[in-house]
């Protein structure tokens, strides 16, 4: 019991952010029309590419060849996720906005 309380106290800031972000995530997209499900999923997909920051940090402090190689791959994969995700989403949404302007 004590251990759990210690854990909660030690990480209270992170836990606080996690709880608030969960509610925020639910709140932000709960009334989305089904037309936008795919672009929204794709956009969210690009946002979790934020994991690339972790890859940059590991790569930035890599000391041996193995971690250099793995870090390099991680940064490439993370960039693919970010760039590919945002560009694909933009292409999908472009279709919608183009049509709207034509009216």
């Amino acid at each position: 019991m004590n251990e759990i309380l210690k854990f909660l106290f030690e990480y209270r800031e992170a836990i606080f952010i996690i709880i608030l972000s969960i509610f925020l995530g639910i709140e932000v997209i709960s009334h989305v029309p089904s037309v936008l499900h795919t672009p929204l999923m794709s956009g969210a997909n690009a946002i979790h590419g934020v994991v690339i920051i972790g890859a940059i940090i590991v790569m930035g402090h890599a000391v041996n060849v193995l971690s250099m190689v793995l870090g390099f791959i991680a940064v490439v994969l993370g960039t693919l996720n970010v760039v590919g995700g945002f560009v694909v989403t933009d292409r999908m949404l472009e279709m919608f906005t183009k049509k709207k302007k034509n009216q």
């Binding site: 854990f7 030690e10 992170a14 952010i17 972000s21 509610f23 925020l24 639910i26 932000v28 997209i29 989305v32 089904s34 037309v35 936008l36 499900h37 795919t38 672009p39 929204l40 999923m41 956009g43 969210a44 997909n45 690009a46 946002i47 979790h48 590419g49 934020v50 994991v51 690339i52 920051i53 972790g54 940059i56 940090i57 790569m59 930035g60 402090h61 890599a62 870090g71 991680a74 940064v75 994969l77 993370g78 960039t79 693919l80 996720n81 970010v82 590919g84 995700g85 945002f86 694909v88 989403t89 292409r91 999908m92 472009e94 279709m95 919608f96 906005t97 049509k99 709207k100 009216q103």
Partner: protein
């Protein structure tokens, strides 16, 4: 560096770290606003751009200002900047080209592929961080690895690995490189795998750390990859959008684990935001199909015993191309109900041609879009938009149903379950309760199908046998082509 003492914590202040934190707050705000804007049609595109700007900000500031405390107490910035920038350039060029070149119909598998990349990235980070932490703990004679950091590393590897392997399988299925593997045995294998995965994580954490002992982390990675494969393999191809959405939120959680590990607020908020909104999105998608998430994952659909009404002696009526052409030309209101089959046959451009042709004859043609038509919710709208179909021609299901009584002809192209009357009439049907487009209420119904094969739900569709329904067999694209030339020659 100046030391500041607060009630609970000692932390060091530096301009660099402060600037970095501010950039992370800005990035988090842009993520939230971007996601918010993405959920409204008018602002969606700028929302995507905002989120991208936030991401760029976080990446650039991390490279410039990130510092880590080393063993001797000094602070070190990011090294290997040349390599990092090189990797960023490679990823950007490849990602950009892939995203620009991909066909609109192949969009879902592309999203799945990119999602897998993110999962793999998270897993790799954990693979590199684990030995570091293990060696440190072993050096300090720790008896176990019970800590938040260890948990974050192990869960990051587990979730990232599952997400990567699962996304690759989903990609394979959507790209039609992989078929469905339906085996009730797989259900139990999956369940036990899940238990083993968590048990192994706990085992690693309880074990005394030994410097340089790497078999555990590799075993965990392998287990996670295998589970990812067996998790997605039995799920039907038509359910892949739900699975991708679910794996998408998994990757979000894996990214958040990294944020927890590095005490990095941008990763934490970004990851959790995607994790929670992705979960809600997954549930919304399931609701649009009137199914529960559990039902999708276990895949009871199709395999269930519900046989539906007998169909032995029922016959369908066919309609000839010329009859169909005449019928359409002398109608006033025509509604096209496009489905999965239309997307596969890539017949959306021909649909638009038919629309223009009929339009020149004074026939009003609209499209009735079921929320789950296509390969992903909203996918059909994108496909038709790509074929230059005007936005106002697309009708949501409710509007289409309201006007159904005044509609002269409904053309069902490559759709099946979304126009099945059993959803309204037969409480024993597995799709009972799912909202459907009421094609049977129109004055005439023409159904374009390749064969009498059942839809994904593997149930009989009574619409085909109704008195007002007539079938036009053949490949959607070829049939539409013939229909168009037939109408032209009238």
């Amino acid at each position: 560096m100046e030391t500041i003492q607060t009630l609970t914590k000692t932390f060091e202040f530096s301009e660099y770290l402060s600037i970095l934190e501010v950039s992370y707050i800005l990035a988090s705000m842009l993520f939230i606003l971007g996601l918010k804007k993405l959920s409204h049609p008018d602002t969606a595109r700028s929302g995507n751009l905002w989120a991208a700007v936030g991401m760029g900000l976080a990446i650039v500031f991390t490279i410039l200002f990130h510092k880590t405390k080393t063993d001797d107490g000094s602070y070190q910035g990011i090294h290997n900047i040349g390599w990092i920038v090189g990797a960023l350039v490679i990823g950007t060029v490849v990602g950009w080209m892939a995203a620009k070149k991909v066909k609109m119909t192949a969009m879902p598998q592309m999203v799945s592929l990119f999602n897998g990349m993110g999962g793999a990235c998270a897993a790799l980070i954990s693979m590199m961080e684990f030995p570091k932490m293990q060696n440190e703990l072993a050096g300090s004679q720790a008896v176990n690895m019970l800590s938040g950091e260890a948990l974050a590393i192990l869960l990051g590897l587990m979730i990232g690995g599952v997400s990567f392997a699962g996304s690759m399988v989903a990609f394979g299925k959507l790209d039609e490189r992989l078929g469905d593997v339906k085996s009730p045995l797989l259900r139990y294998i999956n369940l036990s795998f899940l238990v083993i995965l968590f048990a192994f994580v706990i085992f690693i954490m309880l074990k005394a750390p030994v410097a340089g002992e790497n078999w555990m982390i590799y075993t965990l990675a392998a287990l996670a990859l295998i589970y990812g494969v067996t998790f997605v393999l039995p799920i039907g191809g038509a359910d892949m959008p739900v699975v991708i959405s679910l794996l998408n939120s998994f990757t979000g959680v894996a990214a958040a684990m990294g944020g927890f590990l590095y005490n990095n607020q941008a990763m934490l908020t970004g990851g959790i935001l995607v994790g929670s909104s992705g979960t809600i999105l997954t549930i919304l998608m399931c609701k649009a199909m009137n199914r529960s998430l559990l039902n999708v994952i276990i895949g009871a659909f199709g395999g269930s015993s519900a046989a539906g009404p007998e169909s032995g002696d029922k016959t369908v009526k066919e309609i000839s191309l010329s009859d169909a052409a005449v019928l359409l030309s002398y109608s006033q209101k025509v509604l096209v109900v496009p489905g999965y089959g239309l997307a596969v046959a890539q017949a959306q451009h021909l649909c638009h041609e038919l629309e223009n042709l009929l339009g020149s004859k004074g026939v009003e043609l609209k499209y009735g879009i079921h929320p789950v038509a296509g390969r992903m919710p909203g996918h059909m709208n994108v496909l038709l938009a790509e074929a230059d179909v005007a936005y106002e021609k697309l009708q949501e299901m409710e509007d289409a149903n309201n006007e159904m009584n005044n509609t002269d002809v409904v053309i069902v192209i490559g759709a099946n379950d979304v126009v099945n009357p059993a959803a309204e009439e037969d409480p024993s049907s597995p799709i009972y309760g799912m909202p459907v487009i009421k094609a049977w209420e129109a004055k005439n119904t023409i159904i374009m199908k390749r064969s009498m094969a059942k839809g994904y739900a593997a149930i009989e569709n009574n619409l085909f046998f109704m008195p007002k329904s007539r079938m036009l067999f053949g490949d959607a694209k070829a049939t539409l082509q013939k229909l168009v030339s037939e109408i032209k020659s009238l």
